[in-house]
Amino acid sequence: MIRFLLRRTVHAAILVFITLTATFFIIRLAPGDPLGRYYSPDIDPAAMETVRRQLGLDRPLPVQYAKTLQSFIRGDFGISIHQRRPVAQILKETIPRTLQLTGIALLLQIVLGMGLGMLSAMRRESSLDRSASVVFLVLYSLPSFYLAFLLVSVFALKLQWLPAAGMFSVHTPTTQMFADRLRHMILPVTVLAVGSAAALARYARGSLLDQLHEEYIRTARAKGLSEGRILWRHALKNAAPQLFTVIGLSVPFLLAGAVVIEKIFGWPGMGALMVDAIFTRDYPVVLAANFVAAVMVILGNLLADISYLWVDPRMRMSRGEPRAG
């Protein structure tokens, strides 16, 4: 078991390194110049050269790459070219904001997705299950920006119950800060969670139904166990590894969703930061944001792998790969 964890961790570290390298060369070999927006006919070319030298952009690419790696290992992400502050400081502000959205969305996704999926599996082939399947399918097929526009038009613009964008209202008394923040989070979190919850519900229903054909379920039925107990105690336990994989793999979807959602709702998180940095060619920020995203995604997968050990005692004995994949 320890060997399994160790191997997974090494894999994860290699993956992070490859991601970092790939991102570095992709953004540096592409056309475009982070100083492009400062060029103008009146500017002294010598001054531009000085700035370029200060930023280290004049050195050969391999040297810059080595320097970047060195500082990443030290935990130094460099200085943003446009915001003129350390990238680490920017990330320290934006990551928690994105985690607030994605964390709550992930929680909602698991609770709603698993709950509704199990309910559907329990009442399989009933009219409830059938209509739920269609609803899941539509929600799963809905582009999140379209859902966002629909919800904003109804709840923010028409009914004016909720704010349309932003993270807080100005002039809020300190005592109501928390409630105000919550009100701002309702729409983005809903939009973010709905699609992935529907996907998980579909998946959970499918894999639970697959389990119900197995022989051990017939045995459980023969013992006279109730349907709910069979599903909860037997089928769910055996479907769990697959479900954990799916939940782990939903982390990149949530992060990608956050990019779109943060842009729509004006939420100043990492997704919005990333899009802006990409458009302004802010190399250090793009690199660091991609790095953090990769770490989060890989961590999600690692957690899913570790959770196999937790649900499946057989895995703790063997040192093999997880069965589901």
Binding site: H11, S141, P143, V297
Partner: protein, 360 residues
Amino acid sequence: MSESSKRKWLRFVPGAEWGRAGGLFFFLYMAVCLVRLPVLLDLAASPLVENRLGALIIMIGAVLLYVAAVFPALLRREPDRRRLAAWKGRFRTNRLAVVGLWFFLAALVLSLLSPIIAPYDPAAQHDPALNRYQAPSLQHPMGTDKFGRDLFSRVLYGSRVSLTVSVAAVVFASFLGLFFGAFSGYFGGWVDDVAMRVVDGLLAFPRLLLMLTLLAFFAHALWVVVALLAATGWMGIARLVRAEVLSLKKRDFVQAAHASGAGRLRVVLKHLLPNTAGPVVVAATLRVGTIILLESYLSFLGLGVQPPTPSWGSMVFEGRDVLLSAWWVSAFPGLALVLAVVACNLLGDGLRDAMDVKRA
């Protein structure tokens, strides 16, 4: 004797093998082409490459639809024909899946024919000051946008981008996946180990972020979008094919092929790959929906196909400032998007059940 040869000839009439619905779309397509023949000829003779390409695509579309409509007749081997008939029989019992198939075919036909059925030029701005933000009417079934452009025509043309990009990307991704999966599964050993680590690594990467980075830093021409979507989307199919090949290669018919002296390449191409068709078709269909969504996200963020070429994602984006006053600007393209994706997913689900594929 003459009876059977007559039947043989009849089988190549669209609709004879698939049933009425199977031929309907082909005849509908040809009818529209006939009615709008003058427009089609104009396009074909136009000096603009785009227009000539549109006309060419319409003709290729006719051939493809014909092939699809008489597909069962083209299968020579009896077991293949029987398997297809069994799939069809099971598929038909799923009403939702049939609806999905109809919607998908309708979308495909409309998008192929968009140059000859769109009432207006999607980029033409006729007196924007006068025509902007007109509500849906008989003249403009979906209203007009900020520049007075006809939204119905733009939604029609937009389907070309969404559907061509996603179908092309999925086809390329499937080929990549087939290739990687088949060889990884067949050779096993360290080849398999390395290939699967690569797949794991790519799967772990947030795809939209990768696409964003690549598209923002390089040109975003149509073919770049397709290539990137294909390059980042083949891993799931590769895993699927590998799993199938792993279980197939122990089967008797593969051993028999080896024993009768078939080369490795021949075994992979002739015996293993054809038997993975079911799962791959299902997975590919389900992926078309996902890719339509992904493309719309890219367009929405301004990184997909560039204006004035209409794309559903960017059209929804254009309506963001007028959600209440001119709801139709983003409502209709969004609706088209949802319908197309729902149709793909219904179709994919139906195919999965009909072909009895476990996971895709």
